[in-house]
Symmetry: C2
Subunit: 195 residues, 2 copies
DNA sequence: TTATGTGGAATGAATGTTCGTTCCGTTACT
DNA sequence: AGTAACGGAACGAACATTCATTCCACATAA
């Protein structure tokens, strides 16, 4: 075996710090969360965090990139190419909802922190790369006349903006998420997207 | 006259504090903004703020309610009742965009602070009242078969979520706002809303 | 097997800084 | 002159970060 017991223990500790930071940043934001609070939530000493991340800002960027990449991975996985466009849309929509419900803290964190002034160049570049990917996909769809021939950013804003806002209503306790509401949202968004 | 020169000066000072807080909260969030920083931006002493607001939390709630009420006022003003539904939608859409562009800080602030744990009961009640108003309007529209017969919250999430997200792309410098893009967004959203 | 030495991980009290808030001498108005 | 607003120094609390120390897994020796 290539990983010693010590290396495992350290990897686990690093993971606990990231998990604790994700939970707290999602709930209270970056500036609203104290480093010693993250340490307490992770069950480690305050100083230990600095063995793994040289500053709070490095920590939040590591977390942002990790969560963003995980979400992108999940979005790509198992995309059906040989079904009608409507079914592809349904697949992506349901996948996104499933992921958001299963990774609420991750989605809250990434939504909250979209505006933060503490993201470094690498995090911002990753963000840009995600957008470019979605844009080029939509450009192809528009050429095939399955989605409206408008700027991809318009479609992306409406679809993910609508999903994110509805989820926020749910998570704030202002709306109960039923299958009927999901079906309504999926249909409304498809009407927005289709030619 | 009922207002003395002193009262005018004080009202102006209060206003300067609110304006400075709005600019800074919009840019850096509540926890990311220090009270002495607000004082400097407003051109007043740090202590002076506490003559007008008993705490930072009281200040942010006063600001939130002021901006929310101003936006609601603007939304209601001059709504055309005797034109087709499509024209009513266009009116609301253009009004919202105009308002957002003219009051960027206000919109950023309210978007940022939707999740904050520092809003008091009154602020949250105002938020709820806004939603109820929009919901009842959409219920009537659905009955008249001009908008889709789905939960109003679904429509609201898609429309305002889409607008807010596109504006963020613009304000983050990732998109230039042209009349063409606005027309595309208006059309896409109308397709989502209409029966 | 047991005892012991050792390097690096882990710690949490200590540090300097910055925060929200208060206090008080000064200024400005009546 | 008297009253109230004002600015900004001052305060304790809380912050991000550091560092002297402790702890522990493992290697070596008996």
């Amino acid at each position: 075996m290539s990983t010693t017991r010590l290396e495992e223990r350290m990897a686990d500790k690093r993971e606990r710090v990231l998990a604790a930071a994700l939970r707290l940043f999602a709930e209270k934001g970056f500036d609203g969360t104290a480093v010693p609070e993250i340490a307490r939530e992770a069950g480690v000493g305050a100083g230990t965090i600095y063995r793994y991340f040289e500053s709070k800002e490095v920590l939040v960027n590591a977390l942002y990139q990790r969560e963003k990449l995980a979400a992108m991975d999940e979005a790509m996985k198992g995309f059906p190419t040989d079904v009608p466009a409507r079914a592809q849309f349904a697949h992506l929509f349901r996948k996104a909802i499933d992921y958001a419900l299963k990774h609420k803290d991750s989605v809250c964190f990434m939504e909250h922190h979209h505006h933060g002034g503490y993201l470094d160049a690498e995090s911002l570049a990753l963000e840009a790369r995600t957008m470019e990917l979605a844009e080029s996909f939509l450009r192809v769809s528009a050429e095939r006349q399955v989605t409206k021939d408008v700027e991809p950013q318009v479609i992306i804003s409406v679809v993910w903006g609508g999903v994110a806002r509805l989820l926020r209503q749910v998570w704030d306790g202002h709306l109960e998420l039923t299958e009927e509401i999901l079906a309504q949202l999926e249909n409304v968004l498809w009407q927005a997207v289709r030619v």
